[in-house]
Symmetry: D2
Subunit: 346 residues, 4 copies
């Protein structure tokens, strides 16, 4: 059994990680930390886990974490970078769900996150944990930095177009929408049911922290700079991200059927990317609770614009499920281990 | 024009009061106070009011309030009792939406609210603002204490049964459910969309502050002590209270048709109580945004239990609309003035 | 591997059964029937099952069903009674999720369902599939009739009180609320999102078909007639039933602590009934997607009324999960096989 | 009093029109027609209107409609074109909320709607009822064709950019999302609460009937052909459309402040278009129930792409409210008459 610890288990990615690990046959959660809730039983905070997990929250300490095979960080940014050095130096593997090690350029990180980076020397070490583009590196990594939720949905959607050099990379658009669990479990007026429910809005239009992350990854895929306009929106649902991507055909003409085939071929071997048949479009409810990204591609009215739609559960393929997928790769397990449960529909 | 001020306008009853007063032809809001938001424009906090109201929040002070004809308190309990003495002593009328003056017995108030009452001498002065039982007293009152949202729905539902002495008052049950706007606009984890949405639960089973208020009023109607079991629930909707009331027929046999006639006759002259035709049941969406209580009464399978269902919008007939109805009575206006807009459906 | 067939797989209990059986290690679904969708792939109708199930809907026929070890009916009432005779006569086991064989008295069935019963001779054969009261009989049954969703939540909530003879069985109340998936997947105006969302209402007050089912079972537990007032309500959520039960203490005084202990002891060995610690109340979201009933019991203000709250997922413990639990019992498998996944929260 | 009749009052635009006209001081609804519901009281179908409207549905006939001053069509496409000739020939004014007379080119209409047009000779007569671009023509029109809901939100958003010739009209994108009331009140599986709630999806990607309508209008504004990519999405809310528009700066450089000023100046005199202050973004809940379009414009990170966000209530500014606004113009009333109620928030 792989001994896992979780730092920061009181948020939604934390409880989702616990839900997934509770049925993972090869992993045992040995500690979950929270300063604010230490001493409290996990099942008291999250009654859904009653009968599935007997742990209490503990103070985070290297003593507790030091006996683990792997440590997950399900924390806000800033925490992993302050603790990772110690853990990594003991040879323990780290899977970071936060934004701390996602950006390669520390100055870009510091600009977007507004603080000095506490551990720039590990940025190189941390492998970007998107298996669909980095599978081998993840398998050999000591430390994996899991992608953000929006980036996962946007990058998987653009991937075949960029790898095949089909579109104008200087004019990409990602219009994305997320359920409110993406905003975290902190008390806030803005995320009250009475504020969010039965409403819809854009936010972060002036600049969202996931933009440099997405552009960094798309640039790597395109082997050159890209320009993305990224507008996130807040959905009155709990789980789910839906991205609608727009790109102009630039270098060659590809008709609808060829686009469909391109995507199907490209993702044929991927266990967690599902290219829908022509004419079917993704819905967030068809991925709820499952580690899958469903994608459709279209060229409306045979005009010049390609439209890609992708849907994930932000807490699963966009966070905790992808973290487990990375764990499977890092420990040589079948990539789908513990992730076989179908989505919950309706 | 009646000059009105509102103390504590940043909550949901405050913004609802502003919405209703914005279209009231005889009232002008001259001040709205908030310590935390002073200097900020109301329309910035509540963009729905852009173009309808040019006020800024101000510091609450007797100077500002002293030139009003009427002062509304849309505050948590404890505020009105600390400020009412000054206002009342200047001859200004007060309409209190909070719980401060609802209970006649100050010791009961102090027991349920866990603090000393700062102004017990005004409890006698404050008229309980449920027009359907207190219309004349309200018309002559200097100070009105508006009922709680649950009490409004429960009392109007039981009223004909108690007045007519039909049921066993020692075994009344009110199973009620409220939309989350009833929990207020404060930041809290419990009321986040991701916590409340797509869920349902009871709360306050061990004892809810509206219980003594309801029992006090029902006892007055029954001319003797009553025993009510009251269980509130939290609905994943924004607005609306639905109460399902149970009582046993005790003193005489009344069949379904007679019950229907009793309710229809009883409320025939009431502008804001709507007894539905036999077979139609109230839904919260049919009262959304309007100052109306819809009621149905049934005697299922001709057994001994009478079931009454009542629905209100907790922010309107359960709070700010009832406050305006009381204002109309206090100032000699037609009772329906400013309250004629139909509910918003769908 | 147990070969299972499903008759009527296009509704919500059908797709939920498929979701659960997809991860059941001992069951293989060999056929799923639907007249209206025959020839269509299941994953086209329910894209959540893409990659989990390769079946197409087929015409229901004894040829297809005849090679099964077990046949599930996930059909409206009337279908199972027309087909069960043939299947049972071949020695195949039947698990009926519909209402066809729930009522022992065929005349009561015919009165509430408004049609003649097509197979009264099998009513005796069919075991009422609530494992918590009928475990042994289910294990030996050829045919199991699964309880309705409301009855499951209400019976499990009242069970200890009735078995222990604590309350007045002549005055029981069940105020219950269900998510809209309980209304099925048929096209209807009443269940449109724009009609149901952001609203709440009672329905079926004059008489609901689950009433005779619940009373039949409670009477058996109480060893005598009972009188239940049952009022169902429609919740603007997809999954979940919450029942709030009221009963008067009649025969002996049991305080809050003793009630808590009674329930904990009573359900101590039950894998799928969770008595919450004192002070914690069930929420439908803490059972979403899982085969569990969470229960709390209270005696508010030490008065005479006992209040019990129970929550289930209507599609799981209220339907398809309970069906799988029954299958496990009928085939000698561990009762929890395939049902270990924790609820989906948030 | 203006005598108004409504053809087809059983849908959501019909009931919304009734709600608005119920408080319009200059209009009296004298008839509302529905073949399927004839003889039934309107308040029975829509209990929200109890006490506000005493009408019954009647069979549509020229006798009933012939005594009106104005006839509204709140019908699916195909109805107005079959009845308008008779009504118009009697000199009665017509306000059509359907799509029948929106497209100038009858062949385009027939291609997108898949049927022959029954009344092409009135297409010229019908004025496109978007007051912000057509105010004078509407005032003098006998017949007004109200814009679709998506077109209203998209055209008002793009309008200043196109009139000022700032962007590349050959590459416009409208990513829009609508609440489910936009799908109408017909029984359908796709719009059930259990299908729509807690989910999000794109639809109509291959081509939506509002595309030619929007392009027709934008081309007129741009004085030349335009190319729009339009992707609608379905929101799990009841009311509201939010459009996120993308355009590339083409002909001159306009910074964020200049864009803001352009929009503010452009809409300064418009009673129902609200340009939000810089930094504030529209939310559908801030327009719920009101005849207003709120707009924000941004140039993220000073790059080349302009992003415009606009929000309306699809049933009000996107349908029935705009119809009343048109009535006011046609009958020489103040444009805001009957439309002064603030949005319902929360």
């Amino acid at each position: 059994m792989i001994k896992a610890s979780i730092v920061g288990g009181t948020g939604y990615t934390g409880v989702e990680l616990l839900r997934l690990l509770a049925i993972h046959p090869d992993v045992e959660v040995q500690a979950i930390t929270s300063r604010s809730e230490r001493g409290r039983s996990v099942a008291e905070l999250f009654p859904s886990l009653r009968g599935h997990l007997a742990l209490e929250f503990t103070e985070p300490s290297i003593d507790v974490l030091g006996s683990s095979d792997v440590v997950f960080f399900a924390t806000p940014h800033g925490v992993a970078q302050s603790m990772a050095r110690d853990i990594v130096s003991r040879g323990i593997r780290v899977i970071d769900l936060s934004a701390d090690f996602r950006l390669r350029d520390v100055s870009v990180w510091e600009q977007w996150y507004g603080q000095a980076h506490a551990c720039p020397e590990l940025i190189e070490t941390a492998v970007y944990g998107l298996p669909e583009i980095n599978r081998d590196a993840i398998a050999g990594a000591q430390m994996v930095s899991c992608p953000g939720c929006y980036p996962t949905s946007v990058i998987l959607g653009f991937l075949p177009l960029l790898r095949e050099n089909i579109v104008d990379v200087d004019d990409l658009i990602a219009n994305a929408a997320s359920g409110v669990s993406g905003a975290g479990r902190g008390a806030s007026v803005a995320n009250l049911h009475a504020e969010v429910s039965d409403s819809f809005k854009a936010y972060g239009v002036a600049g969202h922290r996931h933009l440099p992350e997405i552009e960094q990854c798309l640039a790597a895929l395109a082997s050159g700079p890209v320009n993305l306009t990224f507008v996130p929106h807040l959905l009155p649902i709990v789980r789910g991200i839906h991205a609608t991507l727009y790109a102009s055909m630039a270098n060659r003409d590809v008709d609808q059927a060829a686009l469909q085939k391109l995507y199907e071929d490209y993702y044929a071997g991927e266990p967690f990317v599902d290219v829908l048949p022509a004419g079917m479009l993704p819905q967030t409810r068809t991925v709820r609770g499952a580690n899958v990204c469903r994608i459709a591609v279209a060229r409306p009215l045979a005009r010049n614009k390609i439209v890609v739609m992708s849907a994930i559960d932000n807490l699963v393929k966009g966070a905790s499920g992808q973290a487990v997928q990375n764990l499977n790769l890092m420990f040589g397990l079948p990539e789908t281990r513990g992730l076989e449960t179908p989505p919950l529909l309706p």
